[in-house]
Symmetry: C2
Amino acid sequence: MPLNFADRLNNVETSAIRELFKLLGKPGIISFAGGFPDSAMFDVDGIRIAANAALTNEPGAALQYGATEGYGPLREQIASFMRNKGAQDLTPEQLIVTTGSQQALDLLGKTMISPGDKVIVEGPTFLATIQCFRLYGAELISAPVDGEGVKTDELERLIEEHRPKFVYLIPTFGNPSGALLNEERRRAVLAMAVKHQTLVVEDDPYGDLYFGETPPPLSLLALSAQVPGSRELLVHCGSLSKVLSPGLRVGWMVGPAELLGKATMCKQFSDAHTSTFAQATAAQYLLAGRMPGTLAKVRKVYAERAAAMGDALRRELGDGIEFVQPQGGLFIWARLTGANGKLADGAELAKRAIENNVAFVPGAPFYASNPDVATLRLSFATVGIDKIEEGIARLAASL
Amino acid sequence: MPLNFADRLNNVETSAIRELFKLLGKPGIISFAGGFPDSAMFDVDGIRIAANAALTNEPGAALQYGATEGYGPLREQIASFMRNKGAQDLTPEQLIVTTGSQQALDLLGKTMISPGDKVIVEGPTFLATIQCFRLYGAELISAPVDGEGVKTDELERLIEEHRPKFVYLIPTFGNPSGALLNEERRRAVLAMAVKHQTLVVEDDPYGDLYFGETPPPLSLLALSAQVPGSRELLVHCGSLSKVLSPGLRVGWMVGPAELLGKATMCKQFSDAHTSTFAQATAAQYLLAGRMPGTLAKVRKVYAERAAAMGDALRRELGDGIEFVQPQGGLFIWARLTGANGKLADGAELAKRAIENNVAFVPGAPFYASNPDVATLRLSFATVGIDKIEEGIARLAASL
């Protein structure tokens, strides 16, 4: 029997990137295509100690059904973690635990989006956000970004024109742009949320991965304390995936109480609750105070790799490529210039690169509309410096 | 700002049961209200050994992002577990891992249900199924059950009348009915799936919890090998929640390849994948061969408690109540008869019972339509035999 699937599936395409990923198993390939942290950096000992503590101290809670809102001690630890990053007054009740921050996006879609509703995203933005919101019937509008994040004047014009259900931004080292929204623009975003009474979603999985000594500007969540009325129009999504372990699937969502209540109701019927085993392990890990050390270690390694990749790109590809050197995160977002008749098509370069045993993701699929086909996303996170240099040399040969 | 939520939220009510559950913290209360296994039965040592093995043998896989379809070694273990229960030819590729079987229901809704589609469920059925499918806009039709499960003649009539998107059944020790669908009816369900080309969903979280020596009749999945054409019209949802630990959030879904492919695509945007840490732990647990011993232990304890509760109900409530003694699972589903002018309203009895420090769930909310207000669900799983007898005596006093 040909099965008769739900209409909403017509809103998504199977990703062109999936085809690319099938080729990544090729022996000898150097891959800059991933969107994940380096497994070699995982604090396995710390997680083992935390898991054992969870099973010793609270086996019932760690293995039984739990509250849909999240495991109490983890909510406390996350609130404390966020307060240390400037969200000064955050209480555990103001956040719910989600199964990775991907589920926070899904719950936002389920809670907020009726078919035909408009949502403004960055162009480019996280691929799984595009597909997630489209499954709920959203019409996505792209707001342009530059090296300092979303262009707020253009964003305000789009808000006025489209009256969106919400605006979704990854302000800090965004995927794929790597861009850091500057502080002036952060204030402008919060001000326009209040002025236009528009909900803003801040997705922030990368904010802890800054290079150098100085943290990035305050998150929209932390900054909202300085912009009266903005906090009630702000959702903030966080995650342990990029800084500790994606495999725990522990994320969280801060938001207005009414929205969190609806999202909790939806989550009850999505997966009942996030694994209490993973939550209790994460709570013990944070409680043990290992996170600052872990973060310092990964920041250092990613900073070195980002610098090496930037240097190699400038050296090997010269005027054939342009990019803003990232100040954090996992990605360099670059654009082929086509200078001197060089190739300016990211998808074509990706094909040639695979033949030369190096992989990256072409940029076009990251746009909800009007793709810039000359763009590419390169992850430096999972490759050692020697291999980065070798891989970029292969990329230059492919260009 | 009053937030403008998605229209789909209008399809669900906040549960009356939630109000009841708030009262369960009352000191001294004996609760038969839960729908969960007994924490005291968890094989904490076995899970600890499994988690440590996962982190020792495969730390990268256990902590990194994983395939949306599920962690390979766990899919193999689950397929093997299912083959041992009669699904003889099941391969790992024919199932995906879900974040508890609640997520399997959510993915079915997302993949299959367009607003206005009809779905046939049992009356009564699992409360979270009703809400989950309604969030996707399903119109639910209730098929009546008796002590031997869904009445298949009535079910066929409803299929012919409503042409549903699918039929959802909990054939083995269902929640809340506790009923066991007999073998003749199982064959009838598979035959009508083929005859009417109707998809059937078998939710089976309780099938391993049989009392006595003899397992229940083969699952619809296992039996489908004997009914040509039925396998391609069958989805089977399984779970470790009731037999090992709900906190792992490990469930699975077997189904036609095309449906699994669409469900996997939807899952990618729901939570990316189920916790690899929990999956690797579950895989190591199953690999270690501890499951048969764990199952034997919980079967014995739940069987004793079910017998004690049945005896106490007959002794204490006499002709005021009627029920079929369950042969497995976690629940006794009972009906107040109103004999000799006794109370015949489950919700009213629940209120009086709380005053007498005993709790259960009234049955009406378990019906998608035409509730029988005289029904109640009593869980015997988490209460020792002394407390069962005391609690039922209090219930009799409330009646």
